[in-house]
Symmetry: C2
Subunit: 333 residues, 2 copies
Amino acid sequence: MAVTLKEVAERAGVSRSAVSRTFTEGASVSARTRAKVEKAARELGYSPNALASSLTTGRTKLIGLVSNNFHNPIFLEVFDLFTRGLQDRGLRPLLVNLSDETDPANSIRMLRQYSVDGVIVASSTLPPSFAEAFRDAGLPVVHSFGRYTTSPYVHVVGIDNIACGRMAARALVARGHRRVAFLGGPPGATSTQDRERGFLEELARHPEIAVSVTHATAYSFDAGRAEMQRLLQSPPAEAYFCGDDVLSIGALSAIRDAGLRVPEDIGIIGLNDMAMARWQNIDLTTIRQPLAEIIGASIDLVVATIETPDRYPETRLFPCRVVERGTLRALPG
Amino acid sequence: MAVTLKEVAERAGVSRSAVSRTFTEGASVSARTRAKVEKAARELGYSPNALASSLTTGRTKLIGLVSNNFHNPIFLEVFDLFTRGLQDRGLRPLLVNLSDETDPANSIRMLRQYSVDGVIVASSTLPPSFAEAFRDAGLPVVHSFGRYTTSPYVHVVGIDNIACGRMAARALVARGHRRVAFLGGPPGATSTQDRERGFLEELARHPEIAVSVTHATAYSFDAGRAEMQRLLQSPPAEAYFCGDDVLSIGALSAIRDAGLRVPEDIGIIGLNDMAMARWQNIDLTTIRQPLAEIIGASIDLVVATIETPDRYPETRLFPCRVVERGTLRALPG
DNA sequence: ACGCATTTTGCAACCGGTTGCAAAGATGAG
DNA sequence: CTCATCTTTGCAACCGGTTGCAAAATGCGT
């Protein structure tokens, strides 16, 4: 079916090596040979078999893109950016959906079978051990949206969730709120833990402000809504920092259904700034996570690690900022 | 780095063939040899190189998943279902993001270089010629969410958009609306054309009902909102069939911003029933597209075509149904 | 224990490329 | 024109597997 190197060689009247060399960057071929080969290749519609060449070169240009967040709208943006970014660098994403899977062993086996050059674990809910297992298996790996540690064992790219928690706290304090709360994502997620920690640390500096913490069972609309409905059974806080945007939107719907006004009765600040947050019917005040930068850096880092396998593990964090919209009252003054 | 067949063979004291056979389904190996090989493989942490074997077997178990809809929230669900469905059948999705690309040539070349076994084109906005180009290149291909034709040249799986247009029209007629309209997606998309056609055909049977048609520039929130804002400058229709859910949500936001009530002043019916449509703050009446069935059938069909390459091209359409929610007034009686 | 049918096994060639090496060819200096 | 040097080329081995074929081993009936 497919036309092979050998056929091109025969047609061009040269050796197979000559054909191979015209298609490999920086190999030694004369202009004359190259022209002959290119002509024959064009006539035959030849394009080299990337998998066959990977056998000898040891490179497939395949990157495993592993995620378990197939329900959070932000991940559509994430996949878009990752696939485009990888394509632009001549790499191919092999998508792995981890949905219920908690054990990395299967994914590792599969990705090794396909000899991926590297792996990007894109998830804020998987434990660090997950990416570490890939590294232990000898695969260059970057954990995007992972947790920052002072002694990283794998590359991590993302945001400083603790700083974000602080930032959220400051945003609420600056608006004069005296009873605030964190409505977090699943307690097991490192992103939740860190955002909570930063939030509480900052508020510890304001003993006059009452603060409480609860958790939704997932980063999802339903979970956010359910948790807020529960909260509304007792007198709620004046303003909530929600674990992420989709949780925020769930919470908002519960608040409005209860006949309360946003931001007058209850203020909400989210995190992510997904596309939907700026839809005018949502208009969510949130903390913007610079997705494009995070993803660009993740790709750069996985590429660098492929080239230098024992590169020192590195953490790259990007600053976030509050995006003012309509779910938090205006700053005084 | 990776452990090879040869090493396992040496350790187990058998030939390379024996090792290969223990790892290929239905090959002839004695229980004793198999045990020896499995032991050695386990000790060495061996797993066969799928790419190397693809060289001789001609199968990579790689499926190209090609799409250009990386901005429509429904596609997160689509990717989730496709990746899970493929994984469950032992296949691997190689994701191709077509975003701005309009020429299939690049994608074809790339997918052939990686010897994908088949291709799924998942898009309701790409022209039929796109999938046809894959077929012409000799790749088994299924166009998911594509247009139904009476003489199909490639496999198509999706819905009958004309029937959906009719269904939407009947839903509006049944509610007693006398001035209705279609707010379509991009005019170039076959899905838009067909939904419009069905809608108008059905309404042609009701000459007493006034009907109008306009188009948004994309299947997106912003486009839907902008188009509805434009429409509201003149007296609007009583009810709109919007090209899809995300367009509907954009339209809804424009309507509410204009101080009009839904469904009392203006009714909206969408199409897709994406997860967000049932969020209580959206509560969109819409036509449900059975995603899981469409995607399951697409995978079945691409697998069948891989096994029987000259299989007769087939169209599989799944019925849709109206999901009653809050953006269309109740049926009379 | 023997002969025959059936498994099981290893050899060697092959899949579609790449690459070290040495021979062949081109280039330039003298 | 010769010789030394540099470039281009083809050979052959290899990457990690699979598979047709014939030889070896096994099982079975008697």
